[in-house]
Symmetry: C2
Subunit: 332 residues, 2 copies
Amino acid sequence: MPAISRPTSKDVAQEAGVSQSTVSLVLGGKWSGRVSPATARSVRDAAERLGYRPNQAARNLRLGTTRTVLLMVPTLSAPFFGPVYTGAARVAARHGFGVVVSTWPDDAEGPADSPFGSEEAIDGILASSMPVDVLGRFRETPAVMLDSGPGGGVPTVDFGVADGMRAIAGHLAGLGHRRFGHVAAAVDQWTFRARAEALAAVVAGLPGGALARGACAIDVASAKDAALRLLSGPRPPTALVCDDDLIAAGAYKAARALGLDVPADLSVTGFDDVLLATALEPELTTVRLPAEELGAQGMTALLGLLEGRRPASRVLPGELVVRASTAAPRSG
Amino acid sequence: MPAISRPTSKDVAQEAGVSQSTVSLVLGGKWSGRVSPATARSVRDAAERLGYRPNQAARNLRLGTTRTVLLMVPTLSAPFFGPVYTGAARVAARHGFGVVVSTWPDDAEGPADSPFGSEEAIDGILASSMPVDVLGRFRETPAVMLDSGPGGGVPTVDFGVADGMRAIAGHLAGLGHRRFGHVAAAVDQWTFRARAEALAAVVAGLPGGALARGACAIDVASAKDAALRLLSGPRPPTALVCDDDLIAAGAYKAARALGLDVPADLSVTGFDDVLLATALEPELTTVRLPAEELGAQGMTALLGLLEGRRPASRVLPGELVVRASTAAPRSG
DNA sequence: GATCCCCAGTCATACGTATTACTCGACCCG
DNA sequence: CGGGTCGAGTAATACGTATGACTGGGGATC
């Protein structure tokens, strides 16, 4: 029970000795030629004095818009999505929009479980790293998909993960590697399928190329197990290509457990370039994905969509970052 | 220009052949003894058929509540705050509340820069890791502070960081360490002041105890520099106590640069127990802070506050997690 | 001096919902 | 058979804002 209720535009009107309409005109900035500068000033003073803040609910109702956008991500606990939010929020704020986050893990059934139920006050949706079909339930709402691959009709912003993976594979091949192990994230997302396909294509085109695949969850322990399996065969790979920086950390642990030195005995690569990549020792060769830029570009596209434009889908290139975890294989 | 407008309760009323009031009564669940079951069913059917969703803005205006809470954190790019959000959102969803995130870095001047300007549609504020005085501007709004120390009158939920730090210091002292280096986060937050004071108190009470302090930003490179400075003195510390797991990663790098083995030549401890702690080699001895629980407890308190209760402030204990980065000092 | 126009505002209304106060018919009871 | 009661639903209203339609008065124009 909030005993104290905030002042309304009517209160401001009374304080300034004008009508509510005038207050609304002045504070809305639409008063050029309709209200005298003196009156405008006195209205603004009154508003200031009372600490007036327009009631958003009333404004939304009147305008039929909420100036709020929903950002849907699988989770905020993974280090990757924080920057996506940051980039999106920055662009949104510049246009007077707010951002609501909703996490929607793969295993949840739908909006009923998420805060989405109470979040219908939304102008558009920015969905990151989602299966395309989740948007089927929101056809009514303008949407842009991020990091989700070609979308069925909706504008998208994606990373050039295939190019990134080709860069990694090329880098390793150039160092002389031929036997690759792919420590692959067992997650049904477009980005991981694209990475796997690109790697397979490069290795297939390589004379004497061999590729083994070990699947794991995106956590250190699971990745370590998968890497151990890959490394314990008869002719083990000389390079482990990991789908993710965190997975690469697991590969490091596997190498250490087997007494292998990185990179002398085994090259390891990651993907994404999160903080972890430079915290590891040796520092990780990986592909930097501009996560913050993804959020920013996605929000730009969505705001364009809300204004009736039809934004073009975009692809943001990743950048190969060579650090200390890759070297020529020992046996030439 | 959304050409298609969503159906309203009036449309549902027409479809079902009743009045708008009846629709509202039925869908609001307040119809026991006021509407016949048959009519109620037909209303629900009509709503289903039209895909009716109540307009949140209108509802908010009418009820004077938004069922939305603002979570204010310094940044989402740090791995720590994702789980805080997750915990808060889980509890909120269970009560039909949504959560809006606003990042408010130390260096921003105020709400004008943040999405906050357009986010006045808020019932309460959950502010994490903030200087207490930022809430001065929102006295009107019910608030709970997280991880911010004793708050001036507002309910708080904090970690027992002092106890946590005492556990770390006690653990190291028990191993025989006497000369400590504190790699301290140069961030003006309550939690870091509390950590520093607790460590200093323990060392001061230790016969022959010595404590050197090196300040750094919360990133690997800066932490490495600070650790190097601490280790290059005449009688260097045998244990580095770091304010943060990420800082500990910097300490690892410093140790490696100097040819010191962790933990044989140098013990290192972290704080928080984020993912990184187990990704490092050797795995890090640290204090686990239940971040998700912080968000959950904070939200519980805030929702209580909104219902007129006066929730008690709480302290969540941290837990010492001993891993492989600490051992007895070499020179006994 | 009458007409027109424009400046500076105000009036009235609509947005979609929740809820209070009311109506109307049927049934029950004496 | 009349009055009371109850069940089932409706009419009316308020929440606070933004805006198109309107008004009144003071020049300017001829």
